[in-house]
Symmetry: C2
Subunit: 299 residues, 2 copies
């Protein structure tokens, strides 16, 4: 089945201890869309400026990402630049130029409005809500978020939580949102705000799922070299949603395996700048890592 | 088969955000010995002072820990006091009174010298080496260590590494010892210093095994409440060694499962002050958590 992905579409400039790259294709929707495209057909909603490279448009198309919902607006594409510290775990934002993103309102083409699987990748919760207002009874809605919205848009976020099936967020965001340090308790507390399931992303330490069945602990694929972790969380969410949209049977049964596939696509994401390594991955390569991860965690 | 455990035997005073407890039975050898005792008979080597409570001696005995190697010396028992921060992940030492530990030289009773499984729990590497000098061809020697020895006793530690089969250490220690930030690469680098296998403990995030077969990722048992994590790492190592000593077949085949059992015993350790929760656990309770952990990680 189809997956609708709404989020940011950006050009990123990234500095790591070893290298610096400018104007890489990025944004939460881009990372998630490429990740999901391995498993299901993707419909993307976002906005770019007139400076957006044609080669990036072609890259989306090569991955059969439906761009009917991608607005090309007068002005500049959203540009984020950030820097990673030595251990690649901490990053700081150097600059954010919103460009056309500042006045972005997601508009769903009529053909997108009945997409069964919806991933609200990281953007302002008000925009995520606006997308839901345009949807007709989707089968599964999952939202991602970030600390910024916890700090400046909490009322919108709380409204959103009552309308989604699942929430994906990282460790520190979960602690902040739940006001609870223990991640297992935090996940349960967040579920009481609305979502049936909560997934806490722990980067290299994997991810935790909490739903009415209990917990599932997803390992991360071991990487001996991390080039650029930007977009790994978006890739995780995208890979997971793509897998769920392509899988048979109840969503609850498929969630653990979907998280594993999300982790695997995220591992590819980390091995190159921007979407370079993700877009070079193959379904066969993903299956190989999935089998390897099974062997690495069997006891 | 028997497990020999050498390390510190202490009285701990521990402050957490919620409570404060004084003169709890602790020390690396104590925690490891109780943990191992669920799976195999344990022989313990250590030193305590004349102030050491009789009730603690009885507690060891209740767990069939052979105390022939426990010296009772004139003076005071090693006393450590520490404080945990809100999230229970960071702790700081408030005071260390070495007492009889200052002049401790481990002496192995003749009956201990042919013990097949040896856990050199955390003490000065010079003392760990001195234990090995008294052993007759043990089947498996595993050492634990801590950052202090990396800072003040590196030459001894490097000597030790050439004489052990396995090394257990935590994340930051592994990074420091290998001078490598990536844990998978760090583990491989440490193996080049001597040990056939290296286990990196990541607390709530589980543990990583590196050996010639590759990696194994061990999950940690999810805990919704951590009372006192002191000794969790020692319990992990002790539980693992106890399981290995009690298991049939090649050690390499048993290592992943041994780590799982180590994690489970460590999870009990965290649920009470000192050894309270560990010593109240049962083999049946351990098996119950092992089955639960299998279900929590199946995909």
């Amino acid at each position: 089945m189809n997956v609708l992905i709404v989020g940011s579409t950006a050009l990123d400039s990234i500095k790591t201890p070893k290298t610096q790259k400018t104007r890489l294709l990025g944004g939460s929707a881009s990372h998630a869309a490429f990740a999901a495209s391995f498993f299901s057909p993707v419909r993307m909603v976002g906005v770019v400026g007139e400076d957006f490279p044609k080669s990036s448009l072609r890259l989306y198309q090569k991955h059969r990402i439906d761009l009917q919902g991608l607005q090309i607006a007068p002005g500049k594409t959203f540009h984020w630049s950030g820097e990673y510290e030595v251990n690649m775990n901490n990053r700081r934002t150097l600059a954010t130029e919103l460009g056309v993103f500042e006045t972005f309102t997601p508009r769903l083409p009529p053909s997108f409005q009945d997409t069964p699987f919806v991933l609200l990748a990281n953007i302002a919760p008000a925009l995520q809500l606006h997308v839901l207002d345009q949807m007709r009874r989707p089968r599964l809605v999952v939202a991602d978020t970030m600390d910024l919205w916890l700090n400046i848009a909490m009322p919108d976020l709380l409204k959103l939580l009552r309308r989604v099936d699942g929430l994906v967020l990282n460790e520190s965001e979960a602690r902040q949102l739940a006001r609870e340090d223990n991640l297992f308790r935090a996940a349960k507390k967040i579920r009481r705000l609305g979502p049936d399931f909560v997934i806490i992303k722990k980067g290299e330490h994997g991810a935790i799922l909490s739903n009415r069945r209990g917990f599932f602990l997803s390992p991360a694929f071991p990487l001996e070299k991390v080039v650029d972790p930007t977009g790994a969380g978006d890739s995780f969410a995208g890979g997971m949603m793509g897998f769920l949209a392509g899988a048979k049977g109840p969503i609850e049964d498929n969630l653990p395996r979907a998280m594993i596939y999300g982790s695997i696509v995220a591992s590819f994401c980390c091995e190159g700048f921007g979407v370079t390594a993700t877009t070079r991955a193959t379904r066969a390569g993903i299956e190989k890592r999935r089998r390897a991860l099974e062997a690495l965690t069997r006891f």
